[in-house]
Symmetry: C2
Subunit: 218 residues, 2 copies
């Protein structure tokens, strides 16, 4: 197993950093400046050192996955990046090392992330295409959990992370970050949780797309 | 031959940059902001794409060579970086694509770079160890060419490019950058030339180093 310790990855005098521009700016990049610089640098080092054929990253960290796919393409690293669906607790909460820092009540309220994603998905399935109304529904859902405070709730183009248009017409990423607050202010650090879902928006209503072959439309 | 065109190296949406901190700041990094970011990024791309066993870079671009050595180590690229001595015209001028932009008189006066390096080397051989006096000699030499204007003339530690001490005690890089001015102001762009030499300073005088074996001291 290749599991290098920090000194091996960050030798004395190390001063090379890998940075991305657009993809690293929004969402978690806004809340955590420099975070994706660290991610891009260490992932580049690990890929160059281990030279894997395939590297697997979870879709929970969707922005990280897009950053890594882009840097692999840009730097021409010879590796296939495989994104895998988010692994979840039985009740739906996305697995995260941070979950253990939640007290029992915060753990219960943390389900609000999945509920907000579900609500948005249902709304889209029911024909909602208006970004603002979708996000309003998401915020309303999260507001039901008094211990949850929104860091961001945004709709973005899944690959480029560009801001989604006012009226959705293609599959759109709904990305959420929420601080779970301690029972009493200052009693503990807030725990920041993230989750996301690609909302499968189909070109809608007025001008339906006709299937051009015998196959069912996807 | 692998000789990619720009679109292959910089595909649409490319946004990944490789940056170094300390090594990229002084000397040419000061005169040309962003230059070493470009160098580090394209060299990383080329090395990752071509996967050579050995990559050869000239010592004329000494700072570039130190930047590349460092990034290869930091990013753990599996390639040997070979520095090769500067190739020169018969009269000593370092080869550069820019030399052809010099008019005949500027071409003649451009030899002032080599003369300044020679002067410093002679002074060191004669026992000079004082940084300021050495640089004074360099500046005096360059001032003999009225069409040459110093961009920088600096003494630095050859590997780290840290500023050299006031009193030299170890091998030291003398790095020069000089603008060769057009005959008449504004008639053409100044041509920026660089050259360098490692001055082989030996620990001197008062506390001579005794050889500890039968082998001659080097």
């Amino acid at each position: 197993m290749f599991a290098p310790e920090a000194p091996e990855l960050y030798p004395d005098g190390a001063q090379t950093f890998v940075e991305l521009t657009e993809l690293a700016r929004p969402l978690c990049g806004r809340t955590r400046p420099g975070h994706f610089r660290g991610v891009a640098t260490v992932v580049t080092k690990l890929l160059c050192a281990a030279k894997p054929h395939v590297a697997v990253f979870g879709e929970k960290d969707w922005q990280q996955l897009t950053v890594i796919r882009r840097l692999v393409r840009d730097l021409r690293l010879d590796v296939e990046i495989a994104g895998v669906p988010t692994v979840r607790e039985p009740d739906g909460l996305a697995l995260s090392s941070r979950n253990r820092r939640l007290d029992a009540e915060a753990r219960r309220q943390a389900l609000v992330l999945v509920r907000a994603l579900d609500a948005a998905e249902s709304a889209v399935r029911a024909g909602e295409r208006d970004s603002a109304r979708l996000l309003e529904g998401v915020r309303r859902e999260i507001a039901k959990a008094p211990r949850a405070e929104i860091d961001y709730a945004e709709l973005r183009e899944p690959a480029s992370l560009a801001a989604a248009p006012l009226r959705l017409e293609t599959p759109t990423l709904l990305a959420l970050a929420v601080f779970m607050l301690p029972q009493e202010p200052g009693a503990a650090e807030p725990v920041r949780l993230i989750d996301n879902r690609v909302l499968h928006v189909q070109p809608s209503g007025r001008f339906p797309v006709q299937p051009t072959s015998e196959e069912p439309p996807r």
